[in-house]
Amino acid sequence: MHERAPALLKGMKLTARLLLCALALFVILGPLSSLVIWSLAEQWHWPAMLPQRWGTMYWQKAFRGELMTSFVTGLEIAVIVTAVVVVLAVPLAYVLARFRIPFKALILVLFLFPQAFPALPIFANLSTLFYRWDIAGKMSGVVLVQVGAALIYSLWTMVSVFQSVPRVLEDAAYAMGASRLRAFFDVSLPLAVPGIVASGILVFLYSLDEFTGTLLIGSPFVKTLPVQMYLSSMGYEMQIASVTSLIISIPGVLFLILFQRFLKAEYLSSFGRI
């Protein structure tokens, strides 16, 4: 018959579980707390476990310096990219969702292209093209590059959103004499707004965090926070880089906290690529 486990075994099991939990916490939060500590470290010599002197000096320094320009640049780019992506993707998504288009599958797969292949070699060649067209090193170049890559996020989400809008609602509009265009603006679009907002947020976050394209196409004039952070980290300016890292992370973590309950796998899966 069933025996009660001896108390020692139970105790061992408990300790093992506690250790595992501590390990998991350490693994997840360790690198992040390292960032936080570094951002507040005014003086830190090895081998002390914590900085000798704490302070917000580097935060202040960062905000006074180039960081603010990079932050604003990144924000501007993100806003423009999001707007352009939404304007381009929403009508296309509607057409793909509602009508029988030849090569529909091919088109959807085409937009996967930027994500399917390594960006670096492609951008290297693209930058020579952009030089010829005089948009390299300019914000417009960076915007164009990001739009191309981000279209897929908005497109796939919006196609499934439009497919879920019941067709009968549009049919009711036709029956009353509305043209296809009117039905789209009056019926389908308003119903799709939540999806547009969600995919807009995704694109916005993607653009804020984008690195490779901005580095290759934008340098040396257009710098966003990720590029700034990369440069300071490689230059061993640990504190500034950590401050920058934390600022970059804030929008994403905010998104996580606020939308914990509404996050569906389809939306979240886009984050695997940022």
Binding site: P31, M49, F117, P121, G148, S245, A265, G272
Partner: protein, 284 residues
């Protein structure tokens, strides 16, 4: 039927067609110009040496960077295996014993961009970084000679695994959660514990989702740029993205960079092709 009505109907349809094309063309054109065209350019460029067509770049790339290609595959494969093991084990456990705190905690890396992960790991794993200073407190590491994690394979694997484990967990758990609960209950009535429920039921019933996750993540590792730039510079083997960047920036040899680039395209395609082949033979 009214003759003019037919004409109007036809005209309307042409209008709609034109509108449809007008809406489709710009995005398609954009992606083709910005991505497909340079892709093709890079293929062409890779086959040019001193103005003529030749495969010399490839020969050179394979001989000089062959070791790095192997390194790239090795690091990516190791990371994806770790990611899968961790996400399946933890995902399985959390599916069977729901816990909102841990589910939230494990979602965090998903929202930290690759670039930030790179820097965070630099500070954490550096010879004089947080990990080593903590380990030295408990005597596991020699204060005067701290090991350097970040330079090389270990650092890259740790960083990539840390970030993408969260993504894998998401995909794996959503597949596990869609497994009918009565299957698991039935298993439990016959004595299956958490481990067996994961091994005998959750995993086999989620095979294709796990496969998709593996392909997506492996591809993201093979293509990664930000993390490997920040983490892998030990003077030994490097990730080929680092090589491509160096060739462009320092050697200014675009054809060679493109040869290595085309090799990287093939590497990026390989997991998807292998997966599709596996799926097709399964259904045959």
């Amino acid at each position: 039927m009214n003759h003019s009505a037919v004409l109007d109907g036809g005209r309307k349809r042409i209008w709609e067609r034109l509108l449809g094309i007008a809406v489709t063309l710009p995005p398609v054109a954009l992606v083709c110009t910005e991505y497909v065209y340079p892709f093709l350019l890079s293929v062409r460029s890779s086959l040019q040496k001193n103005g003529r067509f030749s495969a010399e770049n490839y020969a050179y790339a394979l001989s000089v960077y062959g070791q790095d290609i192997v390194f790239t595959i090795f690091v990516s494969a190791l990371s994806v295996v770790l990611v899968l093991i961790l996400s399946v084990a933890i995902g399985g456990y959390l599916t069977l014993h729901r816990n909102r705190f841990w589910e939230f905690l494990f979602k965090i890396p998903l929202f930290i961009p690759f670039v930030v992960v790179g820097h965070a790991m630099r500070t954490f794993l550096a010879p004089k970084g947080l990990l080593n200073s903590l380990l030295s407190q408990i005597g596991a590491v020699d204060i005067n000679n701290p090991p350097s994690f970040i330079y090389g394979a270990a650092g890259i694997v740790i960083a990539l695994t840390w970030k993408q484990f969260s993504f894998a967990l998401l995909l794996v758990m959503s597949a596990f959660e869609s497994v009918d609960h009565s299957y698991l209950e039935a298993a439990r009535t016959f004595g299956a514990g958490t481990g067996r429920q994961i091994l005998n039921f959750l995993i086999p019933l989620s095979r294709s989702s796990i496969g998709v996750a593996a392909v997506l993540i492996l591809t993201s590792f093979l293509q990664n740029f930000s993390v490997v730039m920040m983490m892998g510079d030990s003077g030994g083997a490097k990730h080929i993205m680092v090589d491509i960047y160096s060739i462009i920036t320092y050697l200014n040899d675009l054809p060679l960079a493109n040869a290595l680039g085309v090799i990287s395209y093939l590497l990026a395609l390989a997991p998807a092709i292998l997966y599709l082949r596996g799926e097709l033979t399964k259904h045959a």
